[in-house]
């Protein structure tokens, strides 16, 4: 039986992918991308979890043998920042598209080069 964390992460990725495939509004597609990114981050963090262990901050009572895997958390720290950066860039592109075409519907936006 698959763990509920893996199930949730896969579901988030699929919901985001659905929004990207089906939705027509540019902003909804960007929201789908963000949901997908959250799913990927949740998956990476939950892979590093170890039953009954605590956060990898060594202090009194928490030795090196009582902490979860710190590497996925470091990877996710990087991934979150990159997600924020790409989202900001995509949102400003959406602002430009709306100013130029007056719509955010991807089917009405033609002549993207013009």
């Amino acid at each position: 039986m698959i763990s509920v964390y893996y199930f949730g992460a896969i579901s988030l990725v699929l919901i985001g992918l659905y929004a990207v495939l089906v939705k027509k509004n540019l902003l909804k597609i960007l929201i789908g991308l963000d949901i997908m990114e959250s799913g990927v981050n949740l998956l990476i963090v939950s892979i590093g979890y170890i039953n009954g262990k605590s956060a990898p901050i060594l202090s009194e009572g928490i030795g090196p043998s009582q902490a979860v895997d710190p590497i996925p958390q470091a990877l996710v720290l990087t991934a979150i920042v990159i997600g924020v950066a790409t989202t900001a860039l995509a949102l400003s592109a959406a602002i430009i598209v709306y100013e130029k075409y007056g719509t955010l519907n991807i089917e009405e936006i033609r002549r993207l080069r013009g």
């Binding site: 896969i10 901050i57 902490a67």
Partner: protein
């Protein structure tokens, strides 16, 4: 309708395939190989007790350098995309007195808490990126509460460039002392803070680098907010 059902069927197939793949990765069991090495040696090798920040800044410092570069490029890209000659804030309604007074009171506390987060990056959860995001949140609050508020652009852009250079310079000092980039010279060569692990003045160059990164992230995100909140003014 057909498109939606096709999409759902495709996604269910992809989901089943992903679940099959993840069935071979047991949840909640010890899968550490390198992670255990980091956990065992982090105090002796870096002086930090927060293993995640030690990995992000020390063991895998190039990741963080690339990450800062990505954020810098994004902020430059936003500025380039939204560049225009006459740009002004377009907010028209002044916030209520309760809002403006509340934000004025809250603003220094938000900045102080952001500073607390990034200075204690080697001891508590957090570090440069959450601290910088908190600082940018403070400026976002100011932008939202006051219709004529603007960050001091000149100072912010100069700070952004200087702290970015500072990060590279700290790495280059390590290169000069020991022969590789981002070498932790404060800890490995000076042994500064060796009797102090778990207190503020320890952790090698992690607090130094996180202060630089947080200032960079805070100024960059504030700049992105500033660019996005402005619109071209038609004459």
């Amino acid at each position: 309708m057909l498109k939606r059902s096709l999409a759902i069927i495709t996604l269910l197939i992809i989901g089943y395939w992903l679940a099959q793949g993840l069935a071979g990765v047991p949840f909640g069991q010890d899968k550490m190989l390198v992670g255990q090495y980091y956990l065992n040696h982090v105090e002796a090798q870096t002086g930090a007790i927060n293993v995640v920040t030690a990995i992000v800044v020390n063991y895998r410092g190039f990741d963080t350098l690339g990450e800062v570069t990505v954020l810098f490029i994004a902020s430059t890209g936003v500025a380039a995309l939204l560049w225009g000659r006459k740009k002004k804030r377009t907010a028209k309604t002044e916030g209520s007195v309760v809002l403006t007074t509340g934000i004025s009171l809250l603003f220094p506390f938000v900045l102080m808490f952001g500073g607390y987060i990034f200075i204690h990056g080697h001891l508590t959860p957090g570090g440069g990126f959450p601290g910088g995001a908190t600082i940018a949140t403070g400026f976002l609050l100011m932008y939202m509460a006051f219709i004529s508020y603007e960050i001091p652009h000149g100072k912010f852009e100069v700070t952004e460039g200087l702290v970015g250079m500072g990060y590279v310079i700290v790495g280059l000092i390590g290169l000069a002392i020991s022969g590789y980039f981002l070498f932790d010279w404060i800890w490995q060569t000076w042994h500064w803070g060796a009797g102090n692990i778990g207190r503020l003045f320890s952790g090698g160059f992690i607090p130094v680098i996180y202060t630089l990164i947080a200032l960079k992230v805070g100024t960059e995100l504030s700049g992105i907010i500033d660019n996005m909140l402005k619109e071209e003014v038609k004459e």
